[in-house]
């Protein structure tokens, strides 16, 4: 039982916090933060589970998480572009997204 088990667990907690934030927080930017948090949490789980500190780390999850990070930043950019456009068309709508 190495202390490295804390990272995947932290990842899962981050996932939960992100999900809660995404669902409950009205401000759109906070929602974007929330889903980035979820993505990082899931990535921590993906890499963290495989690493028990003994043998060399497994490159496959690392490659996958690298792809995940790039995909997340692309998704964030699209969301933020839409939010910027929305804030111009409907200034008050940005917070009250039902």
């Amino acid at each position: 039982m190495t202390s490295l088990v804390l990272y995947p667990l932290a990842g899962v907690v981050a996932l939960a916090l992100g999900l809660a934030g995404l669902v409950t927080r009205p401000h759109l930017l906070t929602k974007v933060l929330a889903f980035n948090l979820m993505a990082t949490g899931a990535s921590l789980l993906l890499v963290g589970l495989g690493h028990d500190g003994t043998a060399s780390s497994d490159p496959v999850p690392q490659a996958m998480v690298l792809t995940g990070i790039v995909v997340s930043v692309s998704a964030t950019a699209v969301a933020l572009a839409i939010i910027a456009r929305l804030s111009r068309l409907d200034p008050d709508g940005v917070e009250r997204s039902d």
Binding site: T2, S3, L4, V5, Y7, P8, A10, V12, V13, L15, A16, L17, L19, G21, T24, R25, P26, H27, L29, T30, L33, N36, L37, T40, G41, S43, L44, L49, G50, D52, G53, T54, A55, S56, S57, D58, P59, V60, P61, Q62, A63, M64, L66, I69, V70, V73, S74, T76, A77, V78, L80, A81, I82, I83, A84, R85, S87, D92, E95, R96
Partner: protein
């Protein structure tokens, strides 16, 4: 494991969780973004601790750096009027249409948080049983295949050869992001002379040159150690962001033909690498025997350039046109 490791890991993971919650529960978005950037840096530290230097670099450059820059730029673009008005607001309740029962918002948030944590507990429980149970996973298999492939760095061999198809789709996702941002219309900025901050301008010139150097170093390092196309691209993007802030002329990136070709280099190079074997009768994305390192080098370079340009274009947030006059700047 020694006590010191437990203390370090414990504090790092605790910080991660606290910062994560702080980012989400922040009263106003600006505080949230700042906390998120710190969270990103802590996550980079976590990757390093988990023996994944490539991820640490990428998380720092892209996860914390660029995403933070994007968030702040959007917050700015949303106009200071809203940011300030929001600053003083109560948690979550929009001023104009307060929810009928203010308590409802809290109760609902509490319920969802509880549910999410319950789900997390289930996943965590199952994760604990899987932790480290199967040893290094596919690590040894990848090492054995490295010789046949010819690429040294384990992560690079997975990224560019074994699971090269994932990376191809990933460059397509990046390309989609640029198109999505550009199709959402035009972001207008006031015509220069933009009051150029002399310190920023000189800093930008020096740092940009440095960043390009670092990017080149990371690029060549990538083939046999941590680093590679994406990390180099991210550092290039940092240079691009800085250049955009320092010199408004950079905003005409969308119109120049060179930039457009640069944006498609990553996906284009991968498609060429995928199609040539098919024309030669081999299966999709099968490099000719022994040519993997050469292809890897070409792909890494093209990916670095296109990721750099793409992330910079994403930061600009749209096909930028210089607004003719003050009034039009606010026009949609």
């Amino acid at each position: 494991m020694s006590l010191a490791a437990w203390v370090f890991d414990g504090t790092l993971t605790l910080t991660l969780v606290v910062l994560g919650w702080g980012a989400v529960a922040a009263r106003d978005p600006f505080t949230g973004i700042v906390r998120y950037i710190t969270f990103g840096l802590m996550a980079a530290l976590a990757w390093a601790r988990l023996g994944a230097p490539d991820l640490a670099l990428a998380e720092a450059a892209i996860g914390a750096g660029l995403t933070g820059a994007l968030l702040l730029s959007t917050l700015g673009r949303m106009g200071l009027r809203q940011a300030s008005r929001r600053a003083g607001e109560a948690l979550g309740a929009a001023p104009r249409a307060p929810t009928p029962l203010p308590g409802m918002a809290q109760a609902w948030s509490g319920l969802v948080l509880g549910l999410s944590l319950a789900i997390a507990a289930v996943i965590g429980g199952v994760a604990r049983t899987l932790h480290g149970r199967n040893g290094p996973g596919l690590g040894p298999l990848v090492d054995s295949l490295r010789e046949t492939s010819g690429i040294d760095s384990p992560v690079a061999v997975v990224l560019l050869d074994l699971r090269g198809y994932d990376t191809l789709l990933e460059t397509a996702v990046l390309f989609t992001a640029v198109l999505a941002v550009w199709c959402l219309g035009v972001i207008r900025f006031r015509r220069p002379p933009w009051p150029v901050d002399p310190v920023l301008a000189s800093l930008a010139r020096v740092v940009t040159a440095l960043l390009v150097l670092v990017a080149a170093y990371l690029l060549q390092l990538g083939l046999h150690g941590p680093g590679g196309g994406f990390q180099a691209g991210a550092v290039l993007a940092a240079a691009g962001v800085l250049w955009t802030l320092a010199d408004r002329r950079a905003l005409r990136l969308g119109e120049s033909r060179l930039a457009r070709i640069g944006l498609t280099l990553g996906l284009g190079a991968f498609l060429v690498a995928a199609v040539i074997p098919m024309l030669a009768g081999r299966s999709f994305l099968t490099y000719a025997a022994g040519s993997a390192p050469a292809w890897a080098w070409v792909l890494e370079t093209f990916i670095a350039v296109s990721v750099g340009l793409t992330l910079t274009a994403l930061f600009m947030g749209g096909l930028s046109e210089i607004a003719e006059d003050e009034a039009e700047e606010r026009a949609p």
